[in-house]
């Protein structure tokens, strides 16, 4: 059936209509300015290619946006490990750089090959610097040969000489100076974690606190020598400069080095810090872990319970998750500790987000008083 047409009498009235030859307008009319086909095709091509490119490179764009400094909050240890390929360091490496620890180990030539070398192979390599204070040099160990002989009678003298030597020659190599025995096991990363909040300009030293023996002032404390004690750079300077004062520090070389060190530092005004963690659990321990974990293994007249400055309860939960030092670890046990803490894999272990603690200023430093409930 034929369509119907609109017949226009006078084409001039509707100038936009195209009229055909006999003055009749066609059925279609255009009221809007249409885009030409060429432009339309170009526009569609542009939009489609943008969509394709953004779909393909979506992941890359999200990642590069994530690497901007704005989007990084406090870094988690897990994230740090994953992005280490991009040049970020782990938390442990950052601490290694910022909290420099110089370790020195009291040893003797008799034990160079049976104990000292194993220390170097296990935790010794994690110190920023390590020196073995002994009376003869050794080809495998970084030794410092002291003039004092290696015997218990002059242990205090040897300790003094070692610290003075370090202060004179090596005080710029580190911020903290830790003394250990050759049967001590140290966790260097946890030590740095513990020391991070403190500035090395504070005169302070840490270890396992004991109540001072003999007649002593209130709250006088010394640190166990076996489990190691660590001095700040300022404390080392004060000690090295003040040790010749006979009213403050014992001038003879005998007596227990840890007791004399404690007396000397107390008299010189160096603070005896609290090395426990936030839950007040011990990080330094003067015997192997089972002593702190197993209650009832020894009687309550054991020297540890008698002289501990802070509560020294033994229980399965009584040691920190981030321990720093243990004593009486024989050379084979050093490797066992090393294996279980650094190499052993436990399936199903959850990763914990670790954050650096806040810095503490000297003015706000509070050291709790002795609270041993037993004696």
């Amino acid at each position: 059936m034929a369509g119907e047409y609109i017949t226009l009498e006078n084409p001039a009235t509707y100038p936009r209509f195209h009229s055909n030859a006999n003055g009749v307008a066609s059925g279609k009319y255009r009221s809007v300015q249409r885009i030409s086909t060429k432009h339309l095709i170009l526009l569609i091509l542009l939009v489609c290619s943008t969509l394709i490119v953004s779909y393909v490179y979506w992941d890359v764009m999200v990642l590069t946006a994530g690497a901007l400094p704005l989007s990084r909050g406090t870094s988690l240890a897990v994230d740090d490990m994953e992005s280490s390929g991009l040049g970020n360091e782990t938390l442990a490496e950052k601490l290694h750089r910022e909290v420099r620890v110089l370790c020195w180990v009291l040893t003797t030539p008799k034990y160079h090959k049976t104990r000292a070398i194993h220390i170097l192979r296990t935790w010794g390599k994690r110190c920023n610097k390590i020196y073995f204070m002994t009376s003869e040099p050794d080809d495998e160990l970084p030794t410092v040969v002291l003039s004092k002989p290696d015997s218990y009678e002059v242990l205090w003298g040897k300790t003094k000489e070692a610290f003075v030597h370090i202060h004179e020659q090596m005080r710029h190599e580190a911020d903290w100076f830790i003394k250990a025995d050759d049967d001590t096991y140290l966790f260097l990363e946890n030590l740095r974690y513990m020391l991070y909040p403190y500035s090395p300009e504070i005169p302070i030293y840490f270890g396992f606190n004991y109540k001072m023996v003999g007649t002593h002032q209130k709250n006088e404390s010394y640190m166990s020598g076996g489990s190691g004690y660590v001095l700040s750079r300022e404390a080392l300077r004060i000690f090295a400069e003040g040790r010749n004062d006979s009213s403050k520090c014992r001038q003879e070389d005998d007596h227990a080095e840890d007791v004399e060190m404690g007396k000397c530092l107390f008299n010189l005004g160096v603070k005896a810090g609290d090395s426990r963690d936030e839950q007040l659990r011990n990080r330094f321990y003067p015997i192997a872990p089972f002593g702190a974990l197993l209650s009832g293994n020894v009687g309550m007249d054991f020297w540890l319970y008698k002289y501990a400055y802070y509560n020294a309860r033994s229980c399965m939960d009584c040691l920190s998750e981030y321990p720093v030092a243990f004593h009486y670890v024989d050379s084979k046990q050093l490797y066992v500790y090393e294996y279980f803490n650094y190499q052993f894999q436990l399936s199903g272990r959850t990763q914990v987000a670790e954050r650096l603690p806040k810095k503490i200023r000297e003015e706000e430093l509070v050291i709790p008083e002795s609270d041993n409930p037993l004696y």
Binding site: E4, A288, Q343, Q351, E354
Partner: protein, 322 residues
């Protein structure tokens, strides 16, 4: 006006019917199948294998040795049972008296566990009271096996006559099917499994019985051939080497199924079982394995780092520090 919307065209006549039918089918398949494919498939891990621990002890060792095992790692088993020759407050053992031979005791223990506790575990770990066992790593190892397989694991040995058995001091793990087969087929049949006294060679007899009923002795080493069930003390494996002049070392060196190179066994990072000479070390090892952390050092290594750690005996932090 042209009749654009005339319904005459939609009338079901001739070809229109076929077109409509095809259209309808397409519509149906698309709309009703699409929601199903949009839902992503959830892959659920099967539940971890349940471990039932059987700890063999004796009355004289209850307070010196077994109680420490009870306080530390035994809690990590799904269920556990102490077997002894006398009762105890804390250990609550199943008591077997008047049996002096270790083979007779082992037969009795396994039969008892099959009778009373078979439903409580998929895998059954038999060990002594001075073993330190990391049960979580055992679960991880057994994840790839089925408890319906006839297989058992331990520290594999080979007797001079070719018999393959597991060392008695180092933990033996049976699959559920193996325990069932042992209890039903082997224990009842004298020709398959002898019931004479065997003394200290009782695990050899166990190996013979299990081989007779077609239970395979599995390989308990990890992907890098590190050993997971270790015969001796942690000190020895990690801190020193075997000494051929010592009798119990020589016994192991002669009979070990896997070759021992350079007088030491490579220790897997996913260790399962140690023997402890000085029982107090169990607390140290338990504390280090489960509780302690080292600040800033991640503990979950991938396979590349594992290999590096095993070869160089060094830590990751050491590799990358300046």
């Amino acid at each position: 006006m042209p009749r654009l919307f005339s319904t005459r065209r939609l009338f079901l006549a001739g070809k229109n019917a076929i077109y409509l039918l095809i259209l309808g089918t397409i519509f149906y398949t698309v709309t009703l199948r699409l929601p199903g494919s949009l839902k992503s498939e959830e892959v659920v891990d099967p539940p971890p294998p349940r471990i039932f621990c059987i700890i063999s002890t004796y009355e004289y060792r209850h307070t010196q040795v077994a109680i420490h095992t009870h306080r530390t790692w035994v809690r990590h088993c799904d269920h556990y049972l102490f077997v002894s020759d006398y009762s105890d407050h804390y250990l609550e053992p199943a008591v077997f008296m008047h049996m002096n031979d270790r083979w007779h005791r082992m037969r009795a223990y396994l039969e008892y566990v099959y009778k009373y506790h078979f439903h409580q575990g998929d895998w059954f770990l038999y060990c002594n009271d001075d073993n330190f066992v990391v049960v979580d790593n055992l679960r991880h190892m057994l994840k790839t096996y089925s408890p319906n397989e006839l297989i058992y694991f331990g520290c594999k040995m080979r007797a001079p006559n070719g018999l393959v058995y597991m060392l008695e001091g180092s933990g033996i793990v049976f699959s559920g099917a193996a325990l069932k087969r042992f209890a039903l087929a082997a224990l009842t049949n004298e020709s398959i499994c002898s019931s004479e006294a065997k003394g200290n060679d009782f695990t050899q007899e166990l190996g013979r019985c299990l081989a007779n009923v077609n239970v395979i002795a599995g390989d308990s080493r990890d992907k890098l051939q590190g050993h997971r069930f270790l015969p001796f003390d942690a000190d020895l494996h990690l801190g020193s080497t075997f000494n051929q002049s010592l009798e119990h070392h020589k016994y192991f060196l002669d009979r070990s199924y896997y070759p021992v190179i350079d007088m030491h066994l490579p220790v897997s990072l996913h260790l399962i079982c140690f023997h402890t000479k000085y029982i107090m070390n169990i607390y140290n090892m338990y504390y280090f394995a489960y509780v302690t952390r080292v600040f800033g050092v991640p503990r979950n290594l991938n396979i590349e780092n594992e290999r590096m750690v095993l070869e160089n005996k060094t830590t990751l932090i050491d590799q990358s520090s300046p």
